[in-house]
C-alpha cells in the first residue's frame, strides 16, 4: 500500500513537472520573442496591445480549458487529433495561460533597459536581430522572471488541467487535480502530503531558475 502510494506520488509529480515544464517552455518560446518585438518596436496600436496583454494576465484557466476542449473535442474543428484527455491537451491549455505572462513581463523588462544601452548596442554595429538578442540578454533577470511566473501559474493550475485532462489516474492526474480529488474523498492527510510535495517541487524549480537568473549564461 505504502509502495503504491509512493509510486503514485512520484508518477503524479513527474507528470506535473512534465506538463508545467512543457507549457512553460512553449509559452516562453512564444511569449519572450513576442514581448521583445512589442517592447522594442514602435507601431500603431502598441499601447492597446500592451493593455490587452496585461489584461490577459488574469485569463481564467477554465476559459483556456474551454477553448482547448472545444477545439479538440470529438465534434470540434481539431477533434481528429484525438488529444483530449491527454497530457498534450493539458500542455496546450496551460501554454495559453503562460503566453500573456511571458509576453507582458518581457515587454516591461526590455522597455526598462536604459536607452543609452540600446543606443550603444546599435552604435557598436549590431543589426536588428543582434540588437534584440542583446537587449534581451540585458533584460535577462526579467526574462527569467517571466519564465518563473509562467511555471508558477502552470504548476498551481487546476481548472484547465481538470477540464481537458480529466484527472485520469495514471494518465492525466497531476498534483493539483490529485489534491482536489483526495480532499473530496476525505483523505486530508494524503491531500496535505501532496500539497507539501507540490510546494517542494515548485521551490526546487524556482531555485534552479534563480540560479540561471544570477549566472552569466552567455
Amino acid at each position: 500500500m505504502v509502495l503504491d502510494i509512493s509510486y503514485s506520488v512520484i508518477q503524479v509529480t513527474l507528470l506535473s513537472l512534465y506538463v508545467s515544464g512543457c507549457a512553460t517552455f512553449l509559452g516562453s518560446a512564444i511569449g519572450i520573442p513576442l514581448g521583445a518585438l512589442i517592447g522594442l518596436r514602435e507601431f500603431g496600436g502598441k499601447g492597446l496591445l500592451k493593455t490587452v496583454t496585461y489584461t490577459l494576465y488574469g485569463f481564467p484557466p477554465v476559459i483556456s480549458g474551454l477553448v482547448i476542449y472545444y477545439l479538440f473535442s470529438r465534434a470540434g474543428p481539431l477533434g481528429s487529433f484525438g488529444i483530449l484527455f491527454t497530457p498534450t491537451a493539458m500542455i496546450l491549455a496551460e501554454t495559453l495561460l503562460v503566453i500573456p505572462l511571458t509576453t507582458g513581463i518581457t515587454i516591461s523588462s526590455v522597455t526598462e533597459v536604459d536607452r543609452s544601452i540600446k543606443d550603444t548596442i546599435i552604435s557598436l554595429g549590431a543589426n536588428r536581430r543582434q540588437s534584440v538578442l542583446t537587449v534581451l540578454r540585458e533584460a535577462w533577470v526579467g526574462v527569467v522572471m517571466a519564465a518563473m511566473i509562467g511555471f508558477g501559474r502552470c504548476i498551481a493550475e487546476v481548472g484547465a488541467a481538470y477540464m481537458v485532462g480529466g484527472n485520469i489516474q495514471g494518465e492525466t492526474q497531476v498534483l493539483t487535480t490529485a489534491i482536489m480529488m483526495e480532499t473530496r474523498l476525505g483523505r486530508f492527510d494524503y491531500a496535505v502530503g501532496l500539497g507539501v510535495v507540490l510546494l517542494g517541487v515548485a521551490m526546487a524549480v524556482f531555485l534552479f531558475l534563480r540560479y540561471l537568473q544570477e549566472k552569466e549564461v552567455l
Binding site: 543609452s116 550603444t120 548596442i121 552604435s123 552569466e216
Partner: protein, 245 residues
C-alpha cells in the same frame, strides 16, 4: 579623398524644438574636430545624426562617403565603421572581456582573433586581472576606459566622442586622450569628432574647432585661430569664458 563627414543644410526637429537648424559641417580625414557650445546647442543631436541613430528632417548627410536612412540595412553597414563614446560610461551586463569582445562577435570575427584582440586591449587598459569581473562592478573611470576600448577595438574609420572624459579624474582624462591620439596615429584616413565643454581639452586635442549655437555652427576654424583670433563675437566671448548662453 571624400571627407569622412559632410553635412549640408541638415535640420532636425523634435516637436516644436529645432535641434539642428540647416547645419553644415565637413570633417576631413586625419582631423580631430572639436565641437563646443552651450548646452542645448545641438551638439549631441549632431553626433546622433552622424552616427545614424537619428534621421534628419532635411538636408544632405554623407558619412564615410555614403548616405543612408538610419532604419535601413545600409545604415547598419555604415555603423560598422563608426564608433561612439558617450559621457556616461555604458557597459553591458557581462564580464569585462565579453564587453570588449562584443563588437567583434557581432562582426563575426573568429574566436582566436577575438581572444588576441581582447587580450591586447586588457593589457593596454591594465585590466588583465579583472577580465572575468562583471564590468558594472568597476569604477566609473575603468568603465569609461572599457567603453572607449570597446569602441576602438574594431578599428572604426570615424570616432564620435560625446563629452567622453567629463566627470573623470585627470589621470583617466590623460589616459583616454592618449588613446585617442594613438587611434588617430594608427591610420591617417581616420577622423574624430569631439564634443566637449572643456576648452582646455579642445585646445589639447583638436585640429579644428567649431562653436555651435542654436542648432548651427557660428564659426568653424583652425584650433589656433579659434582660440586666439576668432571672427565671431560669440566665439570670442565663449573662449574668453564669459557666461554666454
Amino acid at each position: 579623398m571624400t571627407a569622412p563627414v559632410s553635412l549640408k543644410k541638415v535640420t532636425k526637429r523634435f516637436g516644436d524644438v529645432t535641434a539642428l537648424d540647416a547645419t553644415d559641417l565637413e570633417v576631413n580625414a586625419g582631423e580631430v574636430f572639436g565641437i563646443v557650445g552651450p548646452s542645448g546647442a545641438g551638439k549631441s543631436t549632431l553626433l546622433r545624426v552622424i552616427d545614424l541613430l537619428e534621421a534628419a528632417d532635411e538636408g544632405g548627410i554623407s558619412v564615410l562617403g555614403k548616405s543612408a536612412d538610419p532604419a535601413s540595412k545600409e545604415a547598419d553597414q555604415i555603423r560598422l565603421q563608426i564608433g561612439m563614446v558617450h559621457q556616461k560610461p555604458v557597459v553591458l551586463n557581462r564580464s569585462v572581456a565579453n564587453n570588449l569582445a562584443y563588437p567583434l562577435m557581432i562582426r563575426g570575427w573568429d574566436q582566436a582573433r577575438i581572444q588576441t584582440s581582447v587580450d591586447r586591449e586588457l593589457k593596454r587598459l591594465g585590466l588583465e586581472d579583472r577580465r572575468g569581473k562583471n564590468a558594472r562592478t568597476l569604477s566609473g573611470g575603468e568603465m569609461q576606459r572599457i567603453s572607449f576600448s570597446r569602441t576602438t577595438i574594431f578599428s572604426p574609420k570615424l570616432l564620435l566622442l560625446d563629452e567622453f572624459a567629463a566627470n573623470l579624474d585627470p589621470a583617466n582624462v590623460a589616459l583616454l586622450e592618449g588613446m585617442v591620439r594613438e587611434y588617430m596615429d594608427e591610420d591617417p584616413s581616420r577622423a574624430t569628432i569631439l564634443v566637449t565643454h572643456n576648452l582646455f581639452q579642445a585646445k589639447r586635442m583638436c585640429d579644428k574647432v567649431g562653436l555651435m549655437w542654436g542648432g548651427r555652427f557660428v564659426e568653424t576654424t583652425d584650433m589656433e585661430k579659434f582660440f586666439q583670433a576668432p571672427d565671431d563675437e560669440r566665439t570670442a566671448a565663449f573662449v574668453k569664458g564669459d557666461l554666454v548662453y
